[in-house]
Symmetry: none
Subunit: 220 residues, 2 copies
DNA sequence: CTCAATTTACCCCAAATGTGGTATTGCCCT
DNA sequence: AGGGCAATACCACATTTGGGGTAAATTGAG
């Protein structure tokens, strides 16, 4: 029995690449491909029972309804379909949301064709294929004490300065004032000063609430 | 440069199996093997800098000090060593604790030799190799809809009691121990006791991290 | 009924945090 | 040249927190 696959990808060149890739393997059958989440949702509805896919390759960065929302919708109606996210980004938030929405695989688009094919098979087989760096980040979600520190910010139009955000990120990741001071090569006094200012700007009075606000407002 | 590996495994037959396995690959060098956590801790201390391993293969089921405790100790002193757990069980609690203790790989012992070797390479390379079923379970920790499943299971030591969840909700909302005590009509001492227990279950050591974990894992 | 888990409560003490200050340096902007 | 602001650093002091104990009453399952 071939693994029935559906592709959701808006970039024509990538759609072509994956279509060709899948056609090479005779244990895999590409049922259909769609350029948007809406099209996929509607398209799958029209399929006869025998054509319901086993696996969906889902681009995260889709126009309008993105891959994460689409995944949530698909899983709602077809919980047995396995979904593999495809993306160029290894953004922690996206990874986390993708998993929450019901995806069981998360591969970066720059993986080799072989890796993608293997991942499809593994997914079908009950596994959870992830690109190496993604797997590490997933573990880090469960590992409060040493979360990855990467995090590159874009436009900082907020009240908080760059530095303040850096400090805030630190405490969200569980650092104490002193460890934060060591990490940033500044005095613990300075860290305290920064937090006094951060607290004023966020209108909070404790680390715990600062963490809460930071996460809620997606500051970090 | 060969990948320097240390093996911690108490079963002689398995120690033999892995020792032989590793000897077949010339990009991997078995530095030493130990039959207990204590021996490993002491042995590693005596190694010259140049012989500090890159990877430790750690049996979970060790006598006295188990693999999880040993891992935590090793990572405390050598955070750069990558640790791969080896076990016959795919017990959710063990998986969770292993990750918390600092392991980045988790392979079942019945994997093929090739799979183990690939996993060592992947670990060294920044990945997080996991047996298929383990990877699925890891995702399930992050999947809110499947979390209740953990509750059905055995004494999962990360399952907070009703009351504990109530307390946790309090601090996520910014309460201090004392205000929480007033709200719940209990003594501040009791609040402290609860948090000591909550921290143990969540494997955290501060309000800030507790808040982070609570939100991430959708406990509140 | 009995045992285990939960919830309650207290002691002690070290460490971390929150708040009030003041002050210097360097930078951008006008 | 001067004003504003971000980043740095320090002092002092009260409060909160974290971690080590111990131990009671209550509840629930078997």
């Amino acid at each position: 029995m071939k693994i029935k696959v559906i592709l959701v990808e808006d970039t024509p060149s990538l759609r072509k690449r994956f279509t060709e890739l899948l056609s090479f393997y005779d244990d895999i059958e590409l049922i259909d491909s769609y350029a948007s989440g809406e099209a996929a949702i509607n398209g799958i509805k029209l399929l006869p029972q025998s054509r319901i896919p086993d696996v969906i390759l889902m681009d995260i960065e889709l126009p309008k309804m993105n891959g994460i929302e689409t995944t949530a919708l698909v899983k709602e109606n077809y919980p047995e379909i396995e979904i593999m996210m495809l993306t160029v980004f290894e953004d922690e938030t996206k990874i986390f949301q993708a998993i929450q929405s019901g995806a069981s695989g998360y591969m970066l688009k720059d993986e080799s064709g072989d890796a993608i094919i293997d991942a499809i098979r593994e997914l079908q087989n009950g596994g959870a294929p992830m690109s190496q760096s993604v797997a590490r980040k997933v573990l880090s979600f469960l590992h409060p004490n040493q979360l990855p520190k990467a995090k590159i910010h874009e436009p900082e139009d907020f009240n908080l300065s760059e530095r303040e955000l850096e400090l805030l990120t630190g405490i969200v990741q569980g650092d104490s004032y002193t460890t934060l001071a060591k990490k940033l090569f500044i005095s613990p006094h300075t860290v305290k000063t920064h937090f006094k200012n951060i607290y004023k700007k966020l209108h909070v009075h404790s680390k715990a609430t600062a963490v809460r606000v930071a996460i809620d407002r997606k500051l970090v």
